[in-house]
């Protein structure tokens, strides 16, 4: 009997092996914890992860060409793209059969819109030809090559078919190439013609201006946060309301107010002219350029810098400064060697907030930025709501997200993310 107990597994009170029983109770505990965060998890998954994931997937997804004209894509596989000659009858036969199905489902014009992003003229080619191809019979009217070229001579152009073949892959890098001012061609990735390059410029500008805005926020917010942290509670709370008040005002109102202030017939220029500092015919240009965007966005994002700085500075003991001074430090040394390093976590937290917010800002640059002060987000908005090139918009968004993550990683390496405090 005693031998049996020693050789067998240790049993729990109910007779099941102890190991199993322990595992079960641990599992129960985990399940309970999961059930508690479950609602949040599901919410985040449904409202955040899935939509963003599906939007990012659009940047490579390109099933439309093959879904709309599957037989043609198959037939084009035998066509040599470098031959410079239009494909043979089999392709045209397949194309007419595909088109008749697509026209029935009203999908051919969608394909035209998709291909028009790559080659100007595709949109009307598909729309106009669709009306005539509809009347063809896939058996009785063959052969089709000459008939299609009759409908529109572009069907006889090898370039047209090259575009279709190049963009018939299911997963494409075409949108990403477009997003960095390149294009997908039969010969591989190539740079866009010079007069169509704009996105790289905008990316660089967005990063540069976001840095400038972050930096000017630091410069303006630091003294304010310092005063707030060192004043008696009553006064500090009063002043805090002044910081928060613009925070509670509508973004559009604040941006439009800057327009009134900064424009050439605006408040600042009027005052300067009245004081005789600026001549009436040489009024300052402070809006519809980069300066306008930097001023307005610095103002709008300032509370995001002041608040973390303030809460970090509040925790710094004034005795440290006094101790430093009592040991012979000058005011500057005491500040620079003692106070400033202690306040760095606040600067770090504020900078991350301001930088990430400003990199995706859209409405303020649009209103006060003119042509030189707009961001990449303004192009993303254009492609989402106006050109409907969602693939390109998704690619731009993905790149922007990647840039932010890389910068975050770099920040972690250089400063350390645990050195960031919100209070």
């Amino acid at each position: 009997m005693s031998d049996e107990t020693q050789s067998g597994p240790v049993l729990a009170a109910d007779g099941t092996p102890l190991k199993q029983s322990l595992a079960r109770s641990l599992r129960n505990q985990k399940m309970r914890a999961l059930a508690l965060i479950g609602p949040l998890l599901i919410f985040v998954l449904i409202s955040f992860v899935i939509p963003i994931g599906s939007m990012l997937f659009r940047s490579v997804e390109n099933g439309m060409v093959e879904q709309t004209i599957p037989l043609t894509v198959e037939a084009l596989k035998d066509w040599d793209i470098d031959s410079g000659e239009s494909p043979n009858e089999a392709v045209y036969q397949a194309f007419v059969e595909d088109m008749i199905v697509a026209i029935e489902a009203k999908k051919h014009t969608r394909l035209g819109t998709r291909l028009n992003y790559e080659q100007t003229g595709m949109s009307s080619l598909f729309r106009k030809s669709g009306r005539k191809i509809k009347r063809l019979d896939p058996q009785a009217d063959a052969p089709f090559k000459d008939k299609l070229i009759d409908i529109d001579k572009k069907w006889g152009d090898a370039q047209t078919w090259a575009v279709i073949k190049t963009h018939s892959v299911k997963i494409t890098n075409g949108y990403f190439l477009n997003a960095i001012d390149m294009q997908r061609t039969p010969e591989g990735a190539q740079a866009q013609p010079e007069d169509k390059r704009i996105l790289i410029t905008l990316f660089k500008r967005t990063l540069f201006m976001s840095l400038v805005i972050t930096f000017s926020c630091i410069m303006l917010a630091y003294p304010v946060a310092w005063i707030l942290a060192n004043l008696p509670m009553r006064t500090a709370n009063m002043l805090m309301i002044l910081v928060l008040l613009p925070f509670w005002t509508s973004l559009l109102v604040r941006t439009s107010a800057w327009k009134v202030m900064l424009q050439q017939q605006g408040v600042i220029n009027e005052v300067l002219v009245w004081l005789g500092i600026v001549a009436d015919d040489a009024r300052l240009v402070m809006i519809n350029n980069q300066l306008g965007t930097i001023i307005a966005m610095t103002h709008i994002l300032l509370p995001f810098m002041i608040l973390p700085m303030y809460s970090v500075m509040q925790t710094i003991q004034p005795t440290y400064l006094r101790a430093a001074k009592s040991m012979g430090a000058t005011n500057w040394t005491a500040f620079w060697r003692v106070y400033f390093p202690l306040s760095v976590p606040g600067i770090g937290a504020g900078s991350i907030l301001v930088f990430i917010l400003s990199i995706g800002y859209y409405i303020t640059p649009e209103i006060v930025g003119g042509t030189k002060g707009v961001f990449i987000s303004n192009r993303i908005a254009y492609h989402i709501s106006s050109s409907l090139n969602w693939g390109l918009a998704a690619a731009l968004g993905t790149i922007l997200l990647a840039v932010v993550l890389i910068l975050y990683w770099a920040y972690d390496k250089i400063v350390g993310i645990d050195n960031v405090k919100l209070g």
Partner: protein, 363 residues
């Protein structure tokens, strides 16, 4: 009666009740004075006649993107949408707007002329029911342009005669055409020149000559504001906006109708509506685009009715009491030199030229 049947009866009754309550439709438009004119000319009389409650949504500026998103989600919540013709063409291409047969689904003119003849060439897409003709044209500050006010579109490009800032829309459409017109290209050749890369460069080169004096706008309300503030001496915008600056706000602004670009605005019905909602939308469209209703809208805003038969019925402004006919872009006095926007061209070239234009702007 068992509990189960009772329960079923209650459910059925509440479903029936909710469908009765649901006698409402969502109409999407541009907001502001424009939506107000539609409210008074179309929505109020229609609600009175049919008992349908109309909900306004001012989302026309993003209508194409939103309709596409709704369609992908399989839940279209809009019944009738007001869009410009170019957007209607795109919605039709994307299969997001339903095709309308003008002769059977729209009202004939009072004299019996069929709707397709009454609208004529303005039916630019199978899905589009035109409502108004508007134009993009210039207004100028009468007190800031000297003794000889501008009378020609090319005065916009003449910095010597008219020094000062001008406002232009932040996109290629219209600006490229005006630039070519003022660079010696004949009106009929504008689009064939603009098809070529050289022609596009030519237009941009012409715009380059005034680039430093341009304030670029993106919302229709910008130019009226800039004119009122004296920020610019002349600027392009929609003619109805200038009408309200001149006649309602009494600002020292006048119209330069030369080379105004005609464009159309009208209704589409989204695809994917239930039969019941579709029938209601069609019933509304039939009512709201008849001859009298289109003429009524011109009482509230200075856009020309799209039907030929409505033109003689245009009367006085409902609140200001002034004659509206001379303020219509289609008035013979204003339409001496007009430019017709080419939809087909821009459907093809928009992506290409717009990219070049934005690259040029950013330079």
């Amino acid at each position: 009666m068992s509990t189960k049947t009772k329960l079923l009866a209650i459910v059925a009754a509440s479903v029936a009740a909710s469908s009765l309550v649901a006698e409402e439709m969502t109409i999407v438009s541009w907001g502001g004075a424009y939506s107000k004119s539609q409210l008074r000319a179309y929505h109020e009389p229609y609600s009175e006649k049919s008992g349908v409650t109309i909900i306004n949504d001012d989302s026309s500026a993003e209508a194409v993107a939103k309709l596409r998103a709704m369609n992908e989600a399989g839940n279209v919540t809009w019944d009738v949408v007001d869009v410009v013709a170019a957007d209607a063409i795109r919605l039709c291409d994307e299969g997001l707007a339903m095709e309308i047969d003008a002769d059977t689904q729209l009202a004939a003119a009072p004299d019996g002329t069929s709707a397709s003849d009454d609208f004529g060439d303005l039916l630019v897409s199978d899905c589009f029911i035109p409502q108004i003709v508007y134009s993009t044209t210039f207004g100028y500050r009468t007190d800031l342009v000297g003794d000889t006010p501008p009378s020609n579109i090319c005065d916009v490009f003449d910095l010597e005669a008219y020094p000062g800032k001008r406002s232009l829309e932040k996109r290629a459409i219209n600006n490229m055409e005006w630039a070519l017109l003022c660079d010696g290209v004949a009106k009929d050749d504008v689009y064939s020149v603009l098809e070529t890369p050289e022609g596009q460069d030519q237009a941009l080169a012409k715009l380059d000559t005034i680039k430093d004096s341009v304030v670029w706008w993106s919302a229709g309300a910008d130019t009226p504001q800039l004119l009122a503030d004296g920020e610019v001496i002349m600027g392009s915008t929609y003619n109805g906006r200038l009408f309200s600056v001149i006649e309602e706000q009494k600002q020292p602004v006048a119209m330069l109708w030369d080379a105004q670009v005609f464009d159309l605005d009208g209704w589409i019905i989204p695809t994917g509506l239930s039969e019941e909602r579709k029938a209601r939308a069609l019933d509304y469209i039939m009512f709201a685009t008849d001859t009298q209703r289109l003429a009524d809208q011109a009482k509230y805003i200075s856009y020309g009715p799209a039907r030929k038969s409505s033109a003689p019925l245009v009367g006085k402004h409902a609140d200001l009491g002034i004659d509206m006919a001379p303020h219509m872009p289609t008035d013979p006095e204003n339409a001496k030199n007009t430019f017709l926007y080419n939809y087909e061209f821009w459907a093809d070239y928009r992506d290409d030229i717009e990219t070049k234009f934005q690259a040029w702007l950013a330079k």
